[in-house]
Each structure stands twice: as C-alpha cells, then as structure tokens.
Amino acid sequence: MRPEAPATSQGGAGIAPERRLHPWSWLFTLLQQLKQFALPLLILLFTGRGDGNELWPLIGVAALVVVSLLRYFTYRYRIEADRLVIREGWLQRSRREVPFARIHNVALDQSLLHRLFGVAEVRLESAGGKKPEAQMRVLRLDQALALEALVRGRSSRAAPASAETEDLLLLQLPPAEVLKLGLLSDRGLVLAVAGFAALSQFSPRLLPNVVEMFGRRILGWIDLHSASPTRYTLGALAVVLAAVIGLRLLSVLLAWLQYHGFSLRESTTGRLTVERGLLTRWRSSAPRGRIQAWTLREGLLHRWLRRRALQVDTAVSDPGNASRALKEIAPIATPAACDALIEHLLPDAGWRALDWQPLHRGSAWRIAIPGVAFGLVLTTAATWRFGSLGLLALLWLPWAIVSALAHARRAGFACNDRLVAVRGGWWSRHWRFAEIAALQTLRLSRTPLDRRLGTATLMLDTTGTSALGPPLRIRFVSEPTLADLFARLSRQLGQLR
C-alpha cells in the first residue's frame, strides 16, 4: 500500500488541514499509562481479598481511561511548509511548533498490538533534547510513513529521499544465529531472577514454595527412604540440570523475541540503524560519528561456538531513553566478521595491526590480591562455622593464583595514532577501545604500591559509558611508558578545537 501524500499548505494560500490521531489512540495511551501499574494491578486483581478493596484500582483505571479519551479528542496537528504545529489540551492548552530542520531523528514504533490495528507510534527527536520534540500515539500506518518521509525530505540536507534502497546492509542474523545468541546469553537467568524478585514482593512464600514443589516432584522419583548418597546427589544434580536447561530455553525464547530478524544497516550519510524483534519491532539508530567507545566480548561459550559480540557506547541525547539508543551493533558474529565490521566503521584506524603491549612483569601477584584475600576470608568464615572441614576452602587460593597468572598473561594495551585499546580477561575476554578523538578526561594515578614497583594506572574517560562494562583503563603498566602515553594523548587532545 503506497503511503498517501499528506496535503500541505502552499505558501500561505490556505491553511493546512488539521489532523487528528487515530480513533483507537485512546487505547494505546491508556495501555502506556497502565504499563507502570500493570503488574501490581494484575496481582491485586488475582489475589484480591474479596472485600470492597479490590474496586479501588478500577476507579484509577477509569480515571486513566477518561484522561486518554480527553487526549485523543483534543490533539490536533497540522503539517505546514516548514514545520509541524501541534495543539493539544483542554484545561491546559498548549501549542507547539516543531520546525522540520530541528528534527534529527524520526522513530517509528510498532508493537504486535500496533500491527494488529495497522497503526504506528511516531516520535520526532531533535539533537540534544531530553524528550522527543513530538510524540504521536498513534497514527495510521500509511500516515505515519508519509509523515516520516516528509520530515526526512524536508530536513535532510543531502538530496536522496529514497534513502531506504541505498542503505548498505552490514550484518544480518539468520535464525540459526539468533538461536546461538539465545544459547550464549544469560538473559533467561536475569529475567527469572527479576521475575521472582518482583513476585516475591507480593507473595513472600512464592520462591520457597516453588522450590519445594519442584524439589519434591523430582526427588519424589527417588525413594528417599532407601536412597543412597549417590542417588541423592544424582537427584540434586538432576534438579540443577533441569534449572539450567530451563533457563537456557528461556534465554533462547527471549533472544528469539528480541533479536529475530536483526539487521544492521548504514545509510549513505553514515547513519547506522539496527532493526530487530519478532512481535515488537525495535529500531534504533545513530550517526557513526556519535559512537564514543567500543567493547568486543568473547565469553567462554562464545569461544566454544566461535563467536563474539560487539557493543558500542553512543553519546545519548536522551538519557532517560537510553535503552532505545544504539548499543549492540553485532550481538553475535564470527571473529572475522567483527573485525571486518570494525575495519569498515573505523577505516584506516589500524584495528587489526595494533601492537599489543604487555603488563609490567610480575603484575600477576597484584592481580591475585583480591582473589587471595577473598579466599582467606572464606576460609576463616568456613572454619569458624564448620570446623576443620572449612579448611577445604583453602583450595580457592591456588585457583585464584592460577587465574591471576592467566589474566596477567593475556592483558595488554595498545595505542596508535587514532585508537587506544585495552584487552583483558581469561575465560571471558574483552577488548575495549576508543578513538583518541573521542576521549574526554585523562587520569594518571599511582597508589603507594605502584610507586614502589614503578607502575601506574591510566584511566581514559569517554561519554556514554555504562557502569557494567569494562572501563577503558590501563593498569599495572610501567610508569615511564604510561607517562609518555599520557603526555602524548594530552598533546593530541590539546590540539583539538
């Protein structure tokens, strides 16, 4: 179905027609508002005590319905030659003019419900704005597409309006890859934990009850009265295995829902767009130049399946909506594909030819300090609690030392004219790098131990870093090397204007 072209005003000869939202938009506004109250409301409705108290939430819902209807009836918008004029409100009226030139991103969202009704939610965002300039919930699909095309045509400085066909496809995940992604990720575990935590708020006995029920069912197969220790252990292992398999299946399901049909495209203007999702289609995009830092990950399972994951930090103009920002540009790809993608997005940066420098010799024991300390604390606690059996916890210490040696061997840093990179990890490896032009503050620090051993730590700050990822930080490297690097980087940054 071709999108109908919306009528526009012809330079003053007649006012552009006022348009309204889709007749069903009140439902979507209501659903949006209910989302925050969805879980508590459901719990209340299903576990209601039976007295009059369960009617109070319904009054709240009725009020929300009235508000949504009001919003539908009072929202009007007009497409003029160079701007969008929106009027809304009844008691408090507002009129907003959004010039097309200020709009830097048009986002179309369609959940399953949207697709059933044939509508879409349109968000017009500007650079550096905290909230979208205009948010229309919802428009008919063809009108939404026409609006998107119109805004793109009016605000892009480059000529091509048919940018869709000229997008370069950088990565596409077939179903087999999405399946692998589900097997590799631990989303299932995270969701299960979060779900249990949320439901436990309302029913504190839920978690123990479920565990008891499952345990009894599985262990009931084993006759406990005549069970030998081996059968008991086997039973316990079976429970654990069932839990692990169940969680992995949940991960696969989640990955299927969230990453089905994943595609990464690059427009002629250098804008990266990621589209994914089975029932709800997510679409996030960012200009290539907005990418601040990169993280390449390879966990243990990733290595077995010969895959890696590439993530980026982008400078988010809307911190509240960070989940919509472009983050995962290659959730799963072969190492060669990841390298090729980095080479394509950072041409002539020399990613493949980086010269990795090792840590200062003898840093392994410093890396082992936290592990050894933890082992000692664990041993003390175990011995205090369990007696001499707790000394078994001392086995943690050789493990910590082996792990530290392996970490020290693999860790390193590299720096050329354009990139600075850090790598680390042993079972779960990561590479973290950024363009020098994207660095913010530099910090060189030395603890008393550093000063004794002649090492230092260099921390490089970038925008949009998440607290969960590995920081861009070079540790346990000899001080003269880092001081040189520090001076060089600060000179390079000082020349920026």
Partner: protein, 185 residues
C-alpha cells in the same frame, strides 16, 4: 553560591606570570585556603570520631568514667588527625593551565594527575561559599561529557586565579560532541 561572573578589582593581566599556574609551572593552592582545608578535615574526622565513640559506648557499655573519656577523647584525636590530613591535602595539590589543557595533581602517597583538554570543557562553575568569600577564594568545577570523571573540581584557588582560568577556558570554543550538528535523519 554559584556565580558565572562578578566584577573584581584586581585582575591578572594576560601576560603569563611564571609564578602563576597559567602558562607557567605547577602552582599550589592559595595560602589562605590552608586553614579551610585543615579545619574542614578536622571537623569531618572529629564527627566521625564522635559517631564511633557513641557506637563503641553503646556496644561495650562501660562505666561512666570510661564512657565519658571515650566520648571526649576520640573526637579530639579525630580532630587532630583530620587537621593533619587536611593540611597535607592542601600542601600536595597543584594545578596548571597549559596549551594542552587544565591539569590537576593531588596527593603524595596516592598520587593522581588529571588532565582536562580545553576542547572538552562543556561548561564550568565558579563557586564561592561564605568562608571562601571572606578569604578571597573560589572553587572551580569543570564539567565535561565524560561519564567517570565528568566533573573535575578544585577548591581553594585564589579568586583572581579562578577567574583567569574561567576566562581562558571559556574563550576557546569547546565542543565535546564535535559532530553534533552533522546528523541527518
């Protein structure tokens, strides 16, 4: 109280004074700030000592005499320690502004040098509390777009120095996101 501009009587000239931190070598904090640092440190650690003393007396529950001695002694020791810590902190802070940007050095045992390139300063605050105002001092806080060290602040600067820094840092066009205007939908 945060101000963005204030008329002053004595302003540094643009000529670079080698004794000042601007274009010169590492400059210490103002002399007048020493008392503020020492006093602030003493107060903080004394309060911590008082809290610890209260917790100890509540937990150990000793006699009246020992309890009173504890409540009196710990805050005093805390004050003395805090005074020393504050003075050392004042002593070992250095700053400078050179062609690469603003640099700040802190500490003797735990050393740390922070550099903020001029182009990365998004905006800055000049803060003056009542004590600082009485002694002609100011605190300068630089804001960048970074996420871990996004804010770099140094207190105890002479007002003239702080204003000179503000003028120089705000003179160069700073743009943390250099291509913020080159986006196309």
């Amino acid at each position: 109280m945060t101000e963005s501009s204030e008329p002053t009587t004595a302003r540094p000239t643009d000529a670079l004074d080698p004794r000042s931190g601007i274009g010169g070598d590492w400059s210490p904090l103002a002399d007048a700030a020493r008392l503020l640092f020492a006093g602030g440190g003493a107060l903080l650690v004394a309060i911590a000592g008082l809290v610890a003393a209260i917790a100890l007396t509540a937990w150990l529950d000793p006699g009246m005499g020992v309890g009173a001695a504890l409540l009196g002694l710990l805050p005093l020791i805390g004050a003395a320690v805090g005074w020393r810590i504050g003075t050392r902190r004042w002593q070992h802070t250095r700053w400078r502004l050179d062609s690469d940007g603003f640099a700040l050095r802190r500490g003797r045992l735990w050393q740390r040098e922070t550099r903020v390139p001029i182009a990365r300063v998004q905006h800055l605050d000049l803060k003056r509390g009542p004590l600082e105002r009485r002694r002609g001092l100011a605190t300068l806080v630089l804001h960048t777009a970074g996420s871990q060290a996004g804010t770099v602040g140094v207190g105890g600067l002479a007002l003239a120095d702080a204003e000179a820094l503000r003028d120089r840092l705000m003179r160069a066009p700073g743009a943390a996101l250099a291509d913020a205007d080159n986006d196309a939908p």
